[in-house]
Symmetry: D2
Subunit: 300 residues, 4 copies
């Protein structure tokens, strides 16, 4: 059977319907729609193909790309929703930028890491600055991808995690959605971590509480739609119901490599840069509990 690719729990539920074992609640916050979804253990996992846990989806629209006030509003809302998932204990937070900075649609994670206010080392080097500024302890790494390092990113994250002993890990990742209008306008966060084989970017190993030993939050934004999934949706829309024969038509038109093809906006390079700015802004606010202006004092 044809598998429609999506990294969004929201879309898994749309596809699998009300009986998908996913409980959903929506709220309007500061003018943005926020969807709280819970994938139930067992049934929810089996039916939806998503890991059990809590998923928060914030529909941030597109104004934040062009208006400073909308950008700041989105940053604060995302920071506040992230706050719900962060554990209360003290200690360092390790942010992990997954993906390949050389491949635009897969570059979100490493780009976010470059714009974070990283402070773990300041605690030791300049304790009085650390104290007076009111920093939280934040560390960040971009493990690269298998083709760059020859090492599973999960192996690198696990070993760094053992050395740093953070109170929690936040994974930043580029996602795939099923709908073009969700690109760069939807943010998904969860307390689930990363499942093996998820997404179109070939993350191959699990990164979650069971492998890292601490709570794992993930944060991502859809940057692409898988071309074969879009093609399938299109045929369904035209014909009215799914059909096995679609697959061979898609194979022919997509030259046999639909899963290696992405649909992206023309301006995807600009969008990747801006989305990374938004997520790093939200993370900086959420972790350091500071105003955006205050944070800018400490960033290049």
């Amino acid at each position: 059977m044809f598998e429609k690719r999506t990294d969004l729990a929201l879309e898994a539920r749309e596809m699998h319907g009300e009986d998908s074992g996913i409980i959903v609640r929506e709220e309007n916050k500061d003018g943005f729609n926020v969807v709280y979804a819970e994938v139930l253990r067992g049934e929810g996992e089996r039916l939806s193909g998503k890991s059990a846990g809590h998923y928060i989806t914030v529909e941030i629209g597109k104004d934040w790309m062009h208006e400073r006030t909308a950008f700041e509003a989105a940053s604060y809302l995302l920071a506040s929703e992230l706050g719900r998932l962060l554990p209360d204990e003290n200690g360092c937070v390790l942010v992990v930028g997954l993906g390949n900075i050389e491949i635009t649609p897969d570059s979100l994670g490493p780009r976010v890491v470059r714009e974070l206010l990283v402070t773990r080392h300041i605690e030791g080097l300049d304790p009085s600055l650390f104290e007076s500024a009111g920093f939280a302890s934040v560390a960040a790494v971009s493990p690269g991808v298998l083709a760059q390092t020859g090492i599973e990113s999960a192996e690198i994250v696990e070993s760094v995690c053992r050395a740093v002993k953070p109170r929690c890990v936040i994974l930043i990742d580029s996602l795939a959605s099923r709908r073009l209008n969700r690109l760069a306008s939807t943010v998904q966060m969860s307390d689930v971590g990363l499942s093996p084989g998820s997404g179109v970017f070939n993350r191959r190993a699990a990164l979650d509480k069971s492998t890292l030993g601490v709570p794992v939050i993930s944060l991502g934004v859809p940057m692409v739609v898988d071309a074969a999934t879009l093609a399938y949706d299109l045929l369904e829309e035209q014909v009215g119901n799914a059909s096995d024969e679609f697959v061979s038509v898609i194979e022919r038109v997509l030259a046999g490599n639909g899963r290696e093809m992405f649909v992206t906006p023309k301006e995807n390079d600009v969008i990747a840069k801006q989305t990374a700015k938004l997520l790093s802004s939200a993370l900086n606010v959420a972790l350091h509990q500071m105003e955006i202006n205050e944070i800018s004092l400490y960033l290049n």
Copy 2:
């Protein structure tokens, strides 16, 4: 009526059939398929929507991306086909890299310019080197795009052309094709220049012999397929013939912006870099009449 977007004369003919006023001849050269197409003045222009003139399409496949020998074979074949279009007179050749280096699929032109062996200034600064090396006189500019400069790239090219007075101009551009399997595996060159409104990258003004006053050659490679065109082809393949109702289905599924969406390979950033290397290699060989190894002596 729905307009299928392509910058390839070859595909215009495929769409419009044998009576499209395009005369075509194919040849196998060094294992590559080369198609010589002539769009006839009047009839050919009207039926195909392409400017009258000669188009050479070289199907270079994909091996050149991974094998040095295939890369060199493709470079030499492209250089030799370019040689057919270059005028015989002496004098400087001005290479123009169209497009926006910040937008990956539109970055081919500026990237090629960065890797050219530019020599026009050496003739004055070090005539004996110029002579002994056997350089041709080559200048190159990347005029940027309207949103970057506030100036039509055609205005910049025209004014630089008046100052430099080249014997001919070569335009390098990213193209759109209708077929995914042509991406980065087909090179089109022509003696036609650039038509206004052509392509998906919003080139808005003509750049040809009538506006520049000298012969204008264009050289490009398809980097994207327009999402709406792919969608249309897919529906046609499924349903069996074209239909006006496709347009509304496409609008719905592509969220109303199919012409702002591209289908590209996952690795498009890597492909753009490599394609720029191939085209600059072919140009360096064609213009300076040197071996690839010899050229590398003079490049960083």
Copy 3:
């Protein structure tokens, strides 16, 4: 005789003393020191080696790199001083980013151009936006350097200038100073344009009112100290007065290429990025007469 290299009129006066034909007046503005210097025609030019005209030097210190409020204060002060040099007429302003974006200390001009609010094209494409936003007409180009294009940047600027017919041209350039503590903490602007042979970055041709036909303003920040000049200053400081024998010592220690060597801060890449942000912010304010926040609405 050894020539100490500097692009700052201020330093020319320091070297040549009170009788250098340069009239100077200082003012404290918003806590910053501003120096107004006039190089007198004839005498001043001959003694100082600088072109006759008005030079404004703003000593902005280093706080602006780390504090948002200091950054904004410096932007507004620079914008207001630039306003003194801008002609009153209406019409487009053409900003020219001189230098090579691939060479960090020479990259200031092209980097500034990338962050400008360019609007000339909007006047035609969307007149109501242009009007309602209150834009001035701004165009911008980066002509590259001779080794990249084979064309003197002056030739490109002159020809674009003929096509665009701006009311004035603003040249952005990386400068050299004689003193390390002026790097990235001094901004020089003038109504003089660019003299041939000036600076350490090999600008070879004049760009001024006589060649461009319109007023030419230049704006620059020192990014390097020439190694030989620093060496000479050091020997003078030690020995107490200048000596011809210094030159051979410098030659020996600098391995005969002191003029090809720069002294720069470790973090020069970061400094170049930040300085470009400051200058583009000042230009955007000066040209569009808008607040920084308002401008950010229109920039990526």
Copy 4:
């Protein structure tokens, strides 16, 4: 006392003379001068300030930057000298690119990693390719710097090393030399690893056999001269012998931050790119025991 900064064992010996506890032997190989130095345990360490062990310095000159044949000759010679330091056992080699890719003179390590033929993962994913190509097992990471990650690069390297269990580690690093004519024309390799506090780039923790548990080879090229060191040498050359008063003169002229100032060639960005290409070429040859042309088949 003023400490002259150098990362080259060769220069340590020049400074400390024949009684520095460093044994030196020179050889001419393929037209290049190769210096084999051994810093003796105890006496050599104390007198020279360098760790005990073997240092190989290859004087590669500058022709390799412009001539393909010189580039290849230098690659093969460096590869063969590296071969002397590589342990014989089988198993993975972990290459570590130290430094900050955003700071040009400190970017050598991460740049080299980007151009390596990394193969460790292929052994599992495609064993028949791995076998038939004759690959060695190579992994590579760039741990970033403390200000980017909040984590000592030594902590990251140690933890990755524990996970990957390589047969040896090769550290790539930008170096400082005392002489301008050694920049980009001298390659130093050693079996010593990295000493804490060495160099001008603030490597703060040891990376050697005692901390990593496997043999550690280091490979580096000088990219800068520390400004204060150059100033000191200049004053010594002029005055004839060292003097304590130099320090205050240097402080004055270097504005109190001579250790934060570098002397570099104008074209340092280009030089960093090229040097990274040379080192990665040498490493690829040394590790995979292949010809340069053969390796290019597998690289982008």
